[in-house]
Subunit: 116 residues, 2 copies
């Protein structure tokens, strides 16, 4: 692979809630995504879920309490924990999940993750 | 876990080449580290090696050619590939490796990774 400049990768697309694969770490996809608004409540039964805010602000709603992230802040939603990402403004994230993890927790409704 | 502010975590220590664990993603350690100067040549036979520059500049020397990273740039050294990180100035990194991976590629010389 070559060096991945996250800002350059994010400049190549504008669609929201559609993670783009920028690299691979063992069996994990490294992805960037632009989000704004409310995502769906979901969980991942087989994996933790990594969020790092690159720009903007993200709230991760969870049944037991929300967390709020700004630039340079990360959070890992534990395996199986229901969550809903919400962003009032357009927010840019680095996501890390095992290859093939559906972003909605459900393969039937998941975004197709393309490599950029 | 709670929200991890990478800059706050980095402000809590000053030793170089000594990764600190700030979180966990499945079986992987999420770590921050401060580096300056030349590390040792090494490789990891069982895992890729993730580097994201948070501040400063990092060169990853490899036998087939070096890569140069600035803030917001990431690189994954493939499993088994010999590499040597080098930084002319103090540089701050996010590292991701499976739990227990020796930072030098050799358990006998590896830094003890403590959680902060």
């Amino acid at each position: 692979m070559s060096v991945v400049c996250l800002e350059e990768k994010l400049a190549t697309f504008s669609d929201l809630w559609s993670p783009k694969i920028v690299g691979r770490l063992n069996d994990l996809d490294l992805m960037v995504v632009k989000v704004k608004g409310e995502f769906v409540w979901h969980s991942h039964p087989d994996t933790d879920d990594f969020f790092l805010v690159l720009k903007g602000r993200l709230t991760i709603e969870m049944r037991d309490g929300d967390v709020h992230l700004g630039p340079g802040e990360l959070y890992v939603v534990p395996k199986g924990v229901e969550h809903r990402p919400v962003a009032a403004e357009e927010t840019h994230l680095l996501l890390i999940e095992p290859k093939g993890t559906p972003n909605t927790g459900d393969a039937a409704t998941a975004a197709v993750k393309t490599a950029i």
